[in-house]
Amino acid sequence: MFWPKKKNRKALRNKSEAKQGKGLVLFDTVEEAIKAEKLVTKAGYECCLVAPPPSLRKGCDVAVEINLVEQPAIERTLQPVSYNEVVPLAGSAQLLDIVQVFEFPEHIMVKAGNMKLTFETQSGIIVNTSGGGCPDIPYLHIEMMGKHLDEIPRPRDIGHTLCALMLDRAVEGAREIWAEGGTV
């Protein structure tokens, strides 16, 4: 088995030229932000307390900086505290919420961002998931394949990454279609 040499992540961080890949959790009070930072650190995710830039500031002037790709797992960790929202430090401030639907003779594919979920219209059984690239996606695929839409755990509850969040939106869209009789 390979064990990596210990790396100084702080040294690596100093080499990073920008806040690429980072997001901010915004709070109303400094106390909530400090409590959140402790919870996230204890759960094993990298984070730190920062002052949000004026353009993103909502509430207090302390935020928790996170790796944005881990947003769903960190939001689960933050359930005991009150926070406003999670925003990316660069790019669009909104998670994609567009769901597209594609019909096949016996199946429906629901697409949310880069993730796709396909179910059998007669039974509501998930027959495939595709797309994405984060490390929980192959695992979620195995967890969902061959199961009924109403019986699977939500990807946002067992996944860790933004791809899992997109897959969750596809599940949500598919469940709505299924609840309305499996037709678009």
Binding site: M1, F2, P4, K5, K7, R9, L12, R13, K15, S16, E17, Q20, G21, G44, N67, L68, V69, E70, A73, P88, A90, G91, S92, Q94, L95, L96, I98, F102, F104, E106, H107, M109, K111, G113, N114, K116, T118, E120, V127, N128, T129, S130, G131, G132, G133, C134, P135, D136, I137, P138, Y139, H141, I142, G159, H160, T161, L162, C163, L165, M166
Partner: protein, 289 residues
Amino acid sequence: MLLIAGIIPRADTPLIYGTAARQGSLLSIDGYDIPSGQGTAAMISAALAMTEYLQIDPPRVVIAGDIGRGNGSRLIYQYLIEHLAEISPRVLALHYWMPDLELMQELYEQVQLLNPRPMLIADAASMYAAKAVGLASGFDVFTPDLSEIAFLADAEAIHPAYIDKHLFESCDVNSIPELIAAAYRNQGAARFLLVKGESDFIADKNGILASIDGPDIPELECIGGTGDTITGMCAALIFSGMDIENALKLSAQTNREAGAINHTTPATRIEEIIARLPEVFRSKLNPRE
């Protein structure tokens, strides 16, 4: 050597470095049996099918178990960073893992030290990380789908979940040339792109070089792993010495032909598609050419 790196969806699998071999329906790597479908395993399986047909060295792989926490991903990054100089691959294909931008930057710096520098291929979150950290133009091949080319075209996006809404809404087969141009303008594209979709487009900084339109099997988009098999075949073909443009064309065409051999439905499993590849190779490829 063709080296493929990525995670497998098991929580308890340690880091494994070894040569890929087939063991019935499984992949066997350094004594570990791994299911051959889904994600990086599908990519390895398709690459292995191609190297077997071409009678060239099978892929070497670096894999580790990871179900989303990023622990296995970081083991792979660190292993590559520490051992790339001694491994010295001719083609390095990076795939599913946690997009850790700092480690991606450090890995890229190690790649730059190699002489000769390997061909660099990225798909899945390796592509997300390479683009997000501003290293896309240092890669030789990206293989995005339609939503991912919109991500590459969005100068500021760090993940396809956070791309500009209007860019996403407008992305369809007709907008692909503009999205490709924007990706190159914004330094978000590799030297070559294969944009997978209703039609597959091969492009470089000068625009679209070729498109593959048939056979049209829309069901392939539903099947998890059909993008991974294209990237795996393309990596193996580039390793065989084929030029990148032709390797991309042939990989995209082969995938479609594999979908057309038997009745493909949205419920078809990727293992079935992989099993059809040798038949397509026999009709499309002369190993002596």
